[in-house]
Structures are given as structure tokens and as C-alpha cells.
């Protein structure tokens, strides 16, 4: 009986001690929840904005700065292969490859300042923020040192290649505070951004301390004729192929008739 009482007291005490002091809250919003790719799509600009609010039950005066914001925009996960060419009998050919099973199709980090200044290494690793955490090295039982090094090299190359393709990026100081509490950021999605559900995670920090985080979703998808064509090619490949041939025959016939000399 006494043991139970002691346990209850312990739990209550630890709850009181562990409950953090009420922190500033984050309110965030996206300028669009759907990005449509149509025939003239040449990339789209997205605005991410929000405000730092006082804890519930307190007035705005308790909101003190300065704050830091990290916004992570992440596309759908894809399976990717990285291949390496090497000369074999004088010919350069793909001779080695590593498959990464969950690489975001798009990954961009926007911040108010240098990423390693506004947050510490440990917090970034815990939250998986940063380009290096996006290429997860395949883990096997009893991996040798050399194998780990090989995987790590391919992972580094993947991050580099995705960066060169403008699909991965880190834009420090792209998020700006317009007032003490109101921030906004612009993101331009490239023209060849892949379809899927995207996640925009916003982290609120002060002095390297994570105060709050919010996540929003938005969808990128092809619409109109492009969507119809893409779906037809996938779902009705035979009809799509026959239709393609008919279009080609007709175009060729029309050309011959129009220019008959």
C-alpha cells in the first residue's frame, strides 16, 4: 500500500518537473496546397509564412526574440540507384551501383541563418534535418569498414547529383522576419518537380533550442491533358501505343497531302 502511494507521489512529482514551461507557439501557413503542372508549367513559386504566438493564456508581450526558423520541404520518397562508371578495357561503362530505398524526390531546407549556428548537430540529426541525412546508407549485418566507406561515398555522390539537378538544396537566410514575430519565405519549385505529396515542416528555435514545430502538406500533380496522357500511358498501354501510331500515321499522311507537289 505504502509502495503504491510512493509510486504515485513519484509520478506526480516527475510530471511537474518534466512539463516544460509554456513556450512560444508557431502558426504557419502555405500560399498554396496544390501545385498544378500543366502544359506550360515552368516552375512555381510558393510562399511559406507564419507567426510566433504567445503561449496559451499569456499576452503577446511574453513573446521575446530573436527567433530562428528552419523550413524543410520534402517530396515523396523514391527508390534510387547511383551508378559509377569506370574504364573496362578502355571503355567507360557503369560498373558499380548502390540502391537507396527511401530518397526524397525533392528536399530543400530554408533557414533564417547558417544552419550549424542556429541549431546544434545533435538536434539536426535527431530531426533528420540536412541534406546528408537524406541518403540513408544501406545497413547490412557484419558490414566491413570498406563496405561502409563505399556506401558512404555513393551516398555523398547522390546528395551532390540531386543538388546539381536542383532537387536538393540548402538556402540559408532565405527565411526572413518581417516583424519581431512574423516570418516569410519564398520557394521556387523547379519545372521538373516530381508529382506527389510534399511535406513542409517548420521548426521554431531560439538560442539553438527547439520551441515548436508545425507541418503542412501540399500536393504537386499534373492536371488536364498531361494528366490524362500520363494516366493513359500507365493504365492503358496498348490503347496508348495504338493511338500514338494512329496519330503518327495521320500526321505523316497529312504532311504528304499538304505538300504534294
Amino acid at each position: 500500500m505504502f509502495a503504491v502511494f510512493r509510486f504515485v507521489v513519484f509520478v506526480v512529482c516527475s510530471m511537474v518537473v518534466l512539463t516544460p514551461a509554456p513556450a512560444q507557439r508557431l502558426v504557419s501557413k502555405l500560399s498554396a496546397t496544390e501545385v498544378s503542372i500543366n502544359s506550360t508549367f515552368a516552375g512555381e513559386s510558393l510562399t511559406l509564412f507564419g507567426n510566433v504566438e504567445a503561449p496559451i493564456g499569456e499576452n503577446g508581450r511574453s513573446v521575446t526574440g530573436p527567433f530562428d526558423i528552419i523550413i524543410v520541404i520534402q517530396g515523396p520518397a523514391t527508390r534510387r540507384v547511383v551508378r559509377q562508371k569506370s574504364p573496362q578495357l578502355g571503355i567507360w561503362l557503369n560498373s558499380d551501383e548502390v540502391i537507396f530505398s527511401a530518397v526524397p524526390a525533392y528536399y530543400h531546407v530554408l533557414t533564417t541563418g547558417p544552419l550549424n549556428k542556429i541549431a546544434d548537430e545533435e538536434m539536426l540529426r535527431e530531426q533528420g534535418i540536412g541534406l546528408v541525412y537524406q541518403a540513408v546508407v544501406p545497413q547490412n549485418e557484419g558490414q566491413s569498414e570498406a563496405e561502409i566507406a563505399r556506401y558512404q561515398n555513393f551516398a555523398d555522390q547522390l546528395v551532390r547529383l540531386m543538388g546539381e539537378a536542383k532537387m536538393f538544396g540548402l538556402s540559408e537566410r532565405r527565411v526572413s522576419f518581417l516583424s519581431r514575430t512574423f516570418y516569410n519565405a519564398n520557394l521556387t519549385l523547379p519545372a521538373n518537380v516530381p508529382n506527389g505529396t510534399y511535406l513542409a515542416k517548420t521548426y521554431l528555435l531560439a538560442d539553438g533550442e527547439l520551441l515548436d514545430q508545425k507541418a503542412e502538406r501540399f500536393v504537386v500533380r499534373t492536371t488536364g491533358a498531361e494528366r490524362f496522357i500520363g494516366n493513359a500511358a500507365r493504365d492503358l498501354p496498348l490503347a496508348y501505343g495504338l493511338a500514338s501510331v494512329l496519330i503518327a500515321l495521320f500526321t505523316g499522311w497529312l504532311g504528304a497531302v499538304a505538300f504534294r507537289r
Binding site: 503542372i37 500543366n38 502544359s39 506550360t40 508549367f41 515552368a42 516552375g43 515523396p76 520518397a77 523514391t78 527508390r79 534510387r80 540507384v81 547511383v82 551508378r83 559509377q84 562508371k85 578502355g90 571503355i91 567507360w92 561503362l93 557503369n94 551501383e97 540502391i99 530505398s101 527511401a102 540513408v136 555522390q157 547522390l158 551532390r160 547529383l161 519545372a191 521538373n192 516530381p194 508529382n195 499534373t222 498531361e226 494528366r227 496522357i229 500520363g230 500511358a233 498501354p237 496498348l238 496508348y240 501505343g241 495504338l242 500514338s244 501510331v245 496519330i247 503518327a248 500515321l249 500526321t251 505523316g252 499522311w253 497529312l254 504532311g255 504528304a256 497531302v257 505538300f259 507537289r261
Partner: protein
Amino acid sequence: MNVYLPIAEMSVNLFFLIGIGGGVGFLSGLFGVGGGFLLTPLLIFTGIPAPVAVASVTGTVVAASTSGAQSYIRRGGIDFHLALYLVLSGIIGAFLGVATFSALRSAGQLDLVISVGYLVFLGSIGGLLVYEAVGSLVRRAKGNVRPHKLPGQHNWVHGLPMRVRFKRSNLYVSVLPVLAVGLFIGFLGSLLGIGGGFILVPALVYILRVPGNLVIGTSLLQVLCIMAATTVLHAVNSQSVDIVLAFSLMVGGVVGAQFGASMGQRLRGDQLRALLGLIVLAVALRFAYSLFVTPLDPFSTAILGVGGGG
């Protein structure tokens, strides 16, 4: 003005596509070839994924050869009996080619095989064309123009069994070389995204001894049928036919071919062949460069599919 290619999943300038379609169409009208062997490399070098480039160009070649075949059908310049044999074996070749294409694609070696294939075939055809044309130009310059030597009536091919009479071509020849030629063109065409006219025409002339007035028409009909079958096979097998890409190219190509054809009538045959040979060799050299010269970036990445956890 950009156009979004739904299968390649990228935006490309529409006028650029119509432009290269028109440019290649001009050359194909000028030389009487399909133009696939120029179009596919151009697309690959501009960043369109190789599988999409190969599969879409097959659709473009269908349009180009339809335009060309029309006038030969009107003039009766086609041996339909011979074309039937070539097409049937060609479709079998196309099946094999598309299956090989898929297997190579998943093994990550498709780009290599395309490069080597282009290097070998374009290199040898281009070399032959230039060699032959330069020889002819030199002879003309020396003033001793030899009468064009007709191909002899018989060679070793005509000694093979299973002979069939092709009345229109005035040929009595074994079907084996006919089927072999058809099979080979079908296989190569579907694997490399070329019509194969520039290989088929010499094969018809020098191996089967088809009369000159039937060669181009019969070749065009065969290319048309094989490329139509290949387009369907690629669409079903790898879903890599981008009709928006193919259509943009064929619009330019059909128009360009008309201008090329009228220009071609003003140039002499050996000059044309020398010019074509040089272009073919240049494309072959470009592939040789990518094979033998140390690449700027030995690493590349490609998407395999939807990702899973871990």
C-alpha cells in the same frame, strides 16, 4: 514557350523540339533516310532520358516514313510481296529488340549498348559512304566517269535454298537472307530507336539485288510497319513513349522533310552521299567520345520507383 512532356516528366522548349524535328526532317528529306539515327542522339544529348528518347523517336519515324511511303505507293514503287517477308521477320526482330531493351534498362547498361551500337553501325556506314563517295568524286574530277556498274545478277546469297519468286522485283531468291535482313533491322531499330533505312537500303541493293526503283519504297514501307509495331511494343513494355514529344518532333519533321526533298533534287548523288556520310560519322564520333574519353562525372543516378521505409 515551354511544353511539359508527361512521360519524360520535364519541361522543354516547344520551338526547340519543332526546330530539331524540322532540322532532322530536312536532312531526312535531303538524303531519303528516316532520320531516327540523328534524332535519338540529339534528344539524348539534350538531356531527355535515353529510354524515352528511343521509344518516342520510333513514333516520329512512323510519321516521317508515312509521308515518304505515300508517293511510292502512288507510283507503284513498292514490292509488297518482298515487304511482307521483311515486315513479318522484322516484327519478330522488334519483339526481341524491345525485350533486350527492357533487360538492359534494368541492368543499367542500356546507355552503354546504345552508345556502342551507334558507334559501330554509324561508324561503319558513315565510313563506307564517305569512302565510296570520295572515290566517285575523285574519279569525276579526273574526268574518267565510269558508267554506273549494275550489281551482278548472282552472288553467294542466290545459292541458298528455299527460293521464292518475287515478281515485282524480278527476283528468284532464297527467303533466308530476306528474313535475316528483316529480323536484323527490326531488332536494331527497336533497340536503338532508328528506322534502319540507312542499313536496309544497302542490304536490299547489295545483298538481295532489288532493282533501284523499288528499293526506297520497299524500305520505307518496311520501316513504317516495323516502327509502328515497335511504338506499340515500347508503349506496352516500358511505357516510355512520350506522345507529346513525338508529336512535336513529327510536326517539325514532316514540314522539314518537304524542304529537304526539294533541295535534294538540286544536288548530285555522290555529293549527297558524301555529306550524309560526314554527318553519320560525326554522330558516331560523338558516341565514341562518350565511350572512350574520361567522363566529367563518373557518377549518375536514376529513379527506380516509389520508395519504401528503410
